[in-house]
Amino acid sequence: MAQLKEYFKIAFRNLRTRSLRSWLTIFGIVIGVFLIVSLLSLSQGVQSTIDEQLNALGGEMVIVMPGGDESNPFMGMMMGGDKLEREDIEAIKKSKGVEEVLTMSYRSSVMRYEEESKTIFIAGVPWKSGMDILQKFQGWSLADGRWPIIGRREVVIGQQVVNEIFKNEVKVNTEAIIKGSKFEIVGILNSLGRKEDDSFAYMDMDLFQDITGEKRGSAQMAMVKIEEGASEDKVAEAIKESLIKTRKRRIGTDAADFAIITSSKISGITGDIMKVIEFAIAIFAGIAILVGTIGIMNTMFTSVRERTREIGIMKAIGAKNSAVLTIFLIEAGIIGLGGGIGGMILGVIFAKSIELYGQANPSFYFSAVVSPGLIIFSIAFSFFIGSLAGFFPARSAAKLKPVEALRRFE
């Protein structure tokens, strides 16, 4: 062990003597590790952002939308027009495994606030039956004010409406004109995670249908809270069956012109996309690391050539092959380790700055996940890569015959 300490000292001095070259080689590894750490932590951030948003949609929830089909569930929603009728909603409610159904309708509308008119989204949700689900399972909470009282013309608004859409900040206990009717803004929601969801003014369903003329009892979508212990997929299947039955009776067609989405399905789709992204990242980062590794190998081979005579001297005065091998491996390992630590620090700073930027700009919502595992992995990996790259040059140094090594004058 005492010898190892001395070998470290020698290796450090050798690196210091060739400091510019050492730093440039370290820089090569820094770039590779920086790419790995920043890209992986950002992609993990994307994944966790998606998961968070899915949770915001309701962890164990099934969403039913009219129109469209399952391969493109949002189509019907975008095109508008199609609705879930009262019968459909009743059918969903009666399906096996369904605990509660929260209907929702929405559309864009002009809102006038302090002499300024802007287009926002308005949404109707049944406060009476839905409040509990929205708070417990959708994570709705108030940043300011209170919840609307049923029967009064009151709305709660999202963060985008408060800060972004109007020139002046929209405050609680002020009035706004929506679709020609006067409303009191009684509450401001905390961000729901998605910019779109934060661009809404939410009101009671009856109120919404009064001002928009939408048929009472219908809705544009239904969020289904499933019973405890029930399987999402089975409930989705049950809803599908009863909707088809209802529709057949009602309009004489059994075409499934509605989409049923489960949160695990969305999670699965995004998970697949993330796998592709991560694979691409792994390839790019791998190339960067490979280039860095070749850099270390090149530096070490050059070093062995330059120091052939030194190697000869060390062997003449009693250094075993293993001692020479160890010294060179330590040098390469230090380059790798230095690069790893540097790259990791830069990567974390980069990822965290993007996250900070995201926090400062809600429209750019992003989080970076820097796990301790990623940090340990990047450092251990780069030390390993360094030593691996140094192995062949080190072995060639260790194998030199002392007399031949001493004869070199380079």
């Binding site: 005492a2 210091r16 003597t17 005065i317 009693g318 002392p402």
Partner: protein, 228 residues
């Protein structure tokens, strides 16, 4: 009875330079007794350095055998040879061959590192050796900050680090002026008188050879012993 520390048995060394064979040593047999102070003398290209490399176990003969302290060195592995060299032989080279990144103290201590001596002992002994060669003011200097004579004195201190039984010096004054060279030879000569260690010097300079007790002449790779 004076036991041979080095014994060469009819050794030859042939270098293959492309298609040309160059016989540097032609069947030399030699016994060097413990405590000898000997010069191997010859002109440039006579094979004296090749012979010294063989004695110092830095190179192996094409034919014949080398015995160090009675052991046939051809039977030893590379690592065993390294250990044996480090423990038994101290080398002094014409070009000093100090490690440029290490200061005087660390250069002198290095052979002790390879022998696994603890740090405190290494440093203490290295300091003593540097004082012995008169470099107490140059302990923490890098080789680049030393004069030629000082470098060679560091090299001598390093050669003595593991208290070797045999000291081998290849043209130790070759890169020094005559006054400095004389000083170096006086150190070696004193050391031999005091410690009774075996010292073998390779040189082409008769003035250097005159410091020693025995001269081994070599010409065209063949021996010629001349006792003074």
């Amino acid at each position: 009875m004076n036991e041979a520390i080095v014994k060469l048995e009819n050794i030859s060394k042939i270098y293959q330079l492309g298609s040309i064979e160059l016989q540097a040593i032609k069947g030399i047999s030699l016994e060097i007794n413990r405590g000898s102070f000997m010069t191997i003398m010859g002109a440039s290209g006579s094979g004296k350095s090749t012979l010294l490399n063989m004695i110092g176990c830095l190179d192996s003969p094409t034919e014949g055998k080398v015995f160090l302290k009675g052991k046939d060195v051809s039977l030893l592995s590379e690592d065993q040879l390294s250990q044996l060299r480090g423990k038994t032989i101290g080398f002094i080279f014409q070009e000093f061959n100090l490690l440029p990144n290490l200061n005087s103290l660390d250069n002198v201590a290095l052979p002790m590192v390879f022998q696994g001596l603890p740090e405190i002992k290494r440093r203490e002994r290295a300091k003593n050796l540097l004082c012995m060669v008169g470099l107490e003011n140059r302990i923490f200097h890098q080789p680049a900050e030393l004069s030629g004579g000082e470098k060679q004195r560091v090299a001598i201190a390093r050669a003595l680090a593991n208290d070797p039984e045999l000291i081998i010096a290849d043209e130790p004054t070759g890169n020094l002026d005559s006054v400095t060279g004389k000083k170096v030879m006086e150190i070696l000569s004193d050391f031999h008188k005091k410690e009774k260690k075996t010292i073998i010097i390779v040189t082409h300079d008769i003035n250097i050879a005159n410091y020693t007790e025995e001269i081994f002449n070599i010409k065209d790779g063949q021996e010629f012993i001349d006792h003074k």
